[in-house]
Amino acid sequence: MSANTALAEKYRNNFLKEIEEQVEMGDWVKMCMQCGVCSGSCPTNFQSAWEHPPQELFMMIRAGKRDEVLTSTSMWNCTSCYNCIVRCPRKLPITHIMHGIAEYAHRIGLAPKMQATRFFSGLFWKNATKTGRVNELKLSMGLYFKNGFGSGVKEGMKMKDVAIGLVLAKRLNPLELFGGHKCKDQKGIQAMLKKAYEIERSRKAAKMAG
């Protein structure tokens, strides 16, 4: 049984409860009063990129639309601009809920596989935690090559002017590919993160059991 089916089974008919227990800040979803201020404030909504703005996602959660929510690309479009947070009359930590739903969808394998931001997000974290610091070049290369080598060259070429400009301005170092910035105590960082994951996993499991 996959993680997804197990969870779906456990929370049968109660997607709101599932979100409350499994998603960071998820217990806030029920407090939304559907005023729509967040949707009206969300930049990605203006660019008509979104299937569902936050208000709608929260309503869908309450209406039990599990698959539609967790497979949506919507929360991946959040730019972390925090516009919604400061405006929500109910003080919902919307940005964090958006990230939380995304993380959950990713965790149980329902998130759209090739959603670019999801990919980038994962990449970023791996990039950052591997050495303790972000390697911007590897990060970009990784993103452009996500669809394989051929399209990677194409994506990379599109950004070529940008990259050359940055190199000239000494703000992107081609040598980063071979080493680059890193922390000294990488071992400590890895150990620390391993522990953190362990703790987090056991807490979530406890919630699921209880």
């Binding site: 993380e103 997000s121 974290w125 303790g132 953190a196």
Partner: protein, 303 residues
């Protein structure tokens, strides 16, 4: 001894050869003038920035920031942590708030930190560089050092998101913060307080992953600056700076515009106004060169 001392958290983008290295250079020279001493936290690590959320989960994210707190406490006891990057500042502050409000999270964090041989006893204050300037030094103090006012330069103060929300600078409104405009005036330039796009999102990390969406926003930000007759844009955030500056060429291709407006850090303006050279202000770090500033920086200082 310097007048003000802080533990410094430069963040990944400000490292040498990274996208905001010009920011770091100018901050260093600005701090020299203002007698502010920044001591880098030894072996600091990435803040995890908010875009890391998919993989990170809650605890690991906070643990990353907590490690920096612990290192600061161990090596620079009693000093507040200062960040120059909006995302670093935000991430660290968020961790601070969560850990302060949840005993469980705090205990879990300590347990993980133990693996790296570290611990936290006291929560540090997390400050953004502009907070230090405005609150600890004040506009009067900052202005005192201006020896080469940027007269006649019209500058759009682009505050962006993360230095403004959800925490922001104390006493400023989320919808129309004024401090950047005041800083522009402080260096003797002309501000545009009515610049509508001053808190519009630049697209953040989506500029990488979904460029069309981010660029649509950047276009609005730049266009409005032009509409108000700005010669350059100033910002306190590295991601804002990068996004607004480096995609102008692509935007021109997509929309047929002719954008070519320099995007500066407040620290660069200050260094030039304080009499520093183009090199001190890292003006060579601009993809779109700020000719007007370069000219001013070449002028002799009026003392």
């Amino acid at each position: 001894m310097a007048k003000h001392e802080y533990a410094f958290y430069p963040g990944c983008s400000s490292q040498k050869g990274a996208s905001a290295s010009n920011y770091l250079t100018s901050v260093e020279s600005m701090c020299k003038t203002l007698d502010v001493k920044l001591t880098e936290i030894p072996d600091w690590n990435c803040c995890g920035a908010s875009i890391g959320y998919a993989e990170a989960g809650e605890l690991p994210r906070h643990v990353m920031n907590a490690r920096n707190f612990a290192l600061s406490e161990k090596n620079l006891p009693g000093q507040e942590i200062v960040a120059t990057c909006a995302a670093c500042w935000l991430g660290a502050r968020e961790t601070r708030e969560r850990l302060t409000h949840s005993d469980t999270l705090m205990a879990d964090t300590r347990e993980a930190l133990k693996e790296a041989g570290l611990t936290i006893n006291e929560m540090p204050n997390i400050r953004h560089m502009v907070e230090v300037l405005i609150e600890d030094l004040g506009f009067d103090e900052m202005k005192k050092h201006v020896v080469r006012p940027l007269e006649g330069v019209k500058i759009a103060g682009y505050v962006g998101c993360q230095t403004n929300r959800p925490f922001g600078v104390d006493g400023e409104s989320f919808e129309n913060p004024q401090y950047l405009d005041r800083m522009v005036e402080m260096v003797g330039a002309e501000s545009i307080p009515e610049y509508e796009q001053k808190v519009t999102c630049c697209g953040g990390a989506l500029a990488f992953s979904e460029p069309e969406k981010a660029q649509a926003q950047i276009k609005d930000i730049v266009e409005s600056a032009y509409d108000h007759g700005a010669e350059m844009i100033v910002t306190p955030c590295p991601l804002c700076q990068a996004n607004v500056e480096i995609y102008q060429g692509q935007i021109n291709k997509t929309y047929g515009t002719k954008f070519n407006i320099p995007v500066m850090y407040y620290s660069q303006l200050m260094v030039v106004a304080y009499g520093g050279s183009a090199k001190d202000a890292a003006l060579n770090g601009q993809m779109i060169k700020a000719r007007r500033l370069e000219e001013i920086a070449a002028k002799p200082v009026k003392r």
